[in-house]
């Protein structure tokens, strides 16, 4: 039951919609625009409206595409961040699903997500999609290693491979203070994973139209877009859990229920802070080219994260 409602799927889907709204609104305000204003107060329901509008649209599947993958790909793609979010502790130190080695599973989720995107793009068999997938894979090979190293750093510091253990170990000091480089690398890699500027190379609209999503329409597109927002929430939540002490914060009351509510508030505040950080970077930069991006990943981020791992090993 918890898995489906709070703090499970329903909760995180709502947060995903809220993230999209906040991203659009912040970007708009930074660019001197108004952003969504029509649907709901301050246009807060606009992402929801967009989602349901898309699902009600006719779905056009290109003739030469692989229908099997296009039919079953989006649910699997959606499952990746949705399951991943169940491993993030929200109301207390214990996540809904927990395992002593769940950090490894989270790493698997990254690869799985990229694999599903690749499969979906190839299955739709468009020219723009094909080029976009080439870029996506190249970008993925670039940011995967720094990302893994950045995720491993907190676990080295905590001496634990479970997210729960890492959160518990941050009782006295957050790891963002002990390993700031790892946090920075994680945020940059997250921008690449989410295909946000400056790494929106696989869906650069002025170059390759919609990127690997060009041929999607109707509910496929709706779910792919929702999945991207879920990944957004997932990566921010992971950053909160690994570097910002998860939902932990001052204990103010004796009542368990009230304290759980407080914990979720702490978590949400941190979550939106990380989300805000990501979309401020996104708004302030231009897109780089794929060669420049991979060069950045291999020559700057990978050595930096390796160095951070070394420092973490010494600190232990």
């Amino acid at each position: 039951m918890q898995l489906l409602t709070f703090p499970g799927l329903t909760f995180f889907v709502c947060v995903a919609f809220l993230f999209e709204w906040l991203e659009r609104k912040t970007a708009a305000r930074m660019q001197g625009r108004r952003g969504p204003v029509v649907t709901g107060p301050f246009g807060i329901l606009q992402p929801v409206a967009d989602f349901f509008k898309l699902t009600s649209k006719q779905e056009i599947i290109p003739e030469f595409s692989d229908r099997f993958v296009l039919r079953w790909g989006p649910p699997l793609y959606f499952a990746a961040p949705a399951i991943g979010l169940a491993f993030i502790p929200v109301v207390g130190l214990t996540p809904v699903l927990g395992h002593p080695l769940d950090l490894l599973f989270v790493l698997f989720i990254f690869s799985f997500s990229a694999l599903m995107a690749t499969l979906l793009g190839y299955a739709s068999a468009g020219r723009y999609s094909t080029i976009a997938i080439g870029r996506l894979v190249l970008q993925y090979t670039g940011f995967e290693i720094p990302m893994i190293l950045a995720v491993i750093t907190p676990s080295i510091l905590a001496g634990n491979l479970s997210i729960e253990g890492i959160v518990a170990a941050q009782g006295s000091i957050w790891y963002v203070l002990l390993a700031p480089a790892a946090f920075a690398v994680f945020i940059v890699a997250a921008l690449a994973e989410l295909e946000k500027p400056p790494f929106d190379i696989p869906n650069a609209k002025t170059e390759i139209v919609g990127g690997w999503m060009t041929e999607f329409s109707g509910s496929t597109l709706a779910y792919v877009k929702l999945t991207k927002n879920m990944s957004y929430v997932f990566l921010s939540a992971l950053a909160v859990a690994l570097f910002l002490g998860g939902p932990s914060g001052p204990v103010l009351t004796q009542s368990v229920l009230a304290q759980e509510a407080l914990f979720s508030v702490y978590f949400l505040v941190k979550l939106f802070a990380v989300g805000f950080l990501i979309f401020s970077i996104r708004t302030a930069l231009a897109r780089v080219k794929i060669g420049q991006a991979t060069r950045l990943f291999w020559t700057v981020l990978t050595p930096l994260s390796l160095l951070q791992v070394g420092v973490a090993l010494i600190m232990r």
Partner: protein, 412 residues
């Protein structure tokens, strides 16, 4: 025959998709980077561009022909519709071409007003392009900011002419309206504002790393290429060649208010950015100077309906480069022939040269480095690769061909 299975269909489609090492990639006619339909067939090797084949003609509107059916003065407003951005350049190029066929002397005040509007238009056109560079390189914030600042210029245009884009302001013998009361302080304020913003954007474009790596050394052309392919306007000046119609063959009031020709030497997109920023500043200076020296007097003289017979050629420096008009009159109330050569037409081949050797990611910003206006330049040329020949189709033949083509298709 039984229904083809999915994999069979895919194999049949593989030929269509051309998954060859030298992939063909359509860029346009409808593409998010292009604001008007135009088709560029890119031959790619991975992401690297091997060849570019532009195909024009998607927005051919037959304006030159339409002009022959309209009276002389109506055509001013028809030609304005050729371009949504440099509309005033079109209308004064045509108006001055026609004026040169007659004996009338244009009042000095009208010349000054024409200069002010032309320069305001140059500012708004350049700002538009600078903003779009942000859009093409994925820097949406820059795009939104510059376009917001551009509104200040458009407001002034609206205050003077009544319209933001299609000003319908020029006419034979001058301009249609005098400057409104109390416009001087507003204009001065607008130019001051634009100057400040330009200073900021120059600093931003030089320091913002992601923008620098996307523009510096990208789309490079040198003076040899420029001399061979004859681009016009900023594309020529960014290689260091000093050409500007405003100075070489002054029209309007450019003989009294002389612009300084700005040049750059690098010949890449970054130098185009810097050049256009310089030109915006120069335009601000020209407007200020013109408003200071603005003479008193009439703003137009009355013009006859019929134009004496003769031929005239006229060129102006539109924001995108030299805009050329040829006008022929047989003494009637309608032009016999008007021929227009827009700057984009002259720049297209250079853009092709600029693209070679770059990657797909550079296409939007390089292709549009010339600030293209495809709607302005479209014409129809038929090329038959099978027979290896090329010919231009004239109106009536094209109409017949169209009717026949659709009849054949309906019949088969």
């Amino acid at each position: 025959m039984s229904e083809a299975t999915g994999s069979e269909k895919r194999e049949a489609g593989a030929g269509l998709m051309e998954y060859s090492p030298e992939g063909l990639m359509p860029f346009g006619p409808v593409h998010p980077a292009l604001k008007e339909p135009e088709y560029f067939k890119l031959t790619l090797e991975g992401e690297r561009i091997v060849d570019v084949a532009p195909r024009i003609g998607y927005v051919h509107r037959g304006i030159e022909r339409a002009a022959q059916d309209r009276t002389w003065v109506k055509n001013v407003y028809l030609f304005e519709r050729i371009c949504g951005i440099c509309s005033f350049a079109h209308s004064i190029a045509y108006a001055q071409g026609v004026e040169s066929l007659t004996e009338f002397v244009i009042p000095r005040r009208a010349k000054y007003i024409r200069l002010v509007i032309a320069e305001l238009e140059r500012i708004h056109s350049h700002l538009l392009w600078l903003g779009l560079v942000g859009h093409w390189t994925g820097f949406e914030t820059l795009f939104m900011w510059i376009w917001k600042d551009r509104e200040h210029v458009l407001d002034q245009l609206e205050a003077i002419t009544g319209n933001r884009v299609h000003k319908s302001f020029a006419t034979f013998g001058g301009v249609r309206k005098d400057l409104p009361e109390g416009i001087e302080p507003k204009l001065a304020q607008a130019t001051k504002f634009v100057r400040e913003r330009v200073k900021y954007y120059r600093q931003l474009m030089e320091s913002e790393e992601t923008l620098v790596v996307r523009t510096k050394g990208v789309g490079k052309i040198d003076q040899n290429i420029a001399r061979r392919l004859c681009p016009v306007g900023p594309l020529l000046r960014c290689t260091g060649i000093e050409r500007d119609v405003r100075v070489e063959d002054p029209y309007a009031a450019y003989d009294e208010i002389v612009p300084e020709v700005k040049t750059q030497t690098a010949g890449d997109i970054a130098s185009l950015l810097a050049l256009r920023l310089d030109e915006v500043e120069e335009s601000c200076r020209l407007i200020d100077e013109a408003m200071e020296k603005l003479p008193k007097g009439d703003y137009k003289v009355l013009f006859p309906r019929a134009i004496p017979s003769g031929e005239a050629m006229f060129h102006v420096e539109a924001p995108r480069g030299e805009l050329f008009y040829f006008v022929k009159s047989t003494g009637s109330t309608k032009p016999e022939r008007v021929k227009i050569r827009t700057p984009t037409m002259a720049n297209l081949l250079t853009a092709k040269e600029m693209l070679k050797g770059h990657t797909l990611a550079d296409v939007p910003v390089v292709l549009t480095g010339m600030d293209p206006c495809f709607g302005c330049m479209d014409r129809i040329t038929v090329f038959d690769p099978g027979k290896g020949k090329e010919w231009t189709v004239r109106g009536e033949a094209l109409r017949k061909y169209g009717i026949e083509y659709y009849r054949r298709r309906a019949g088969s």
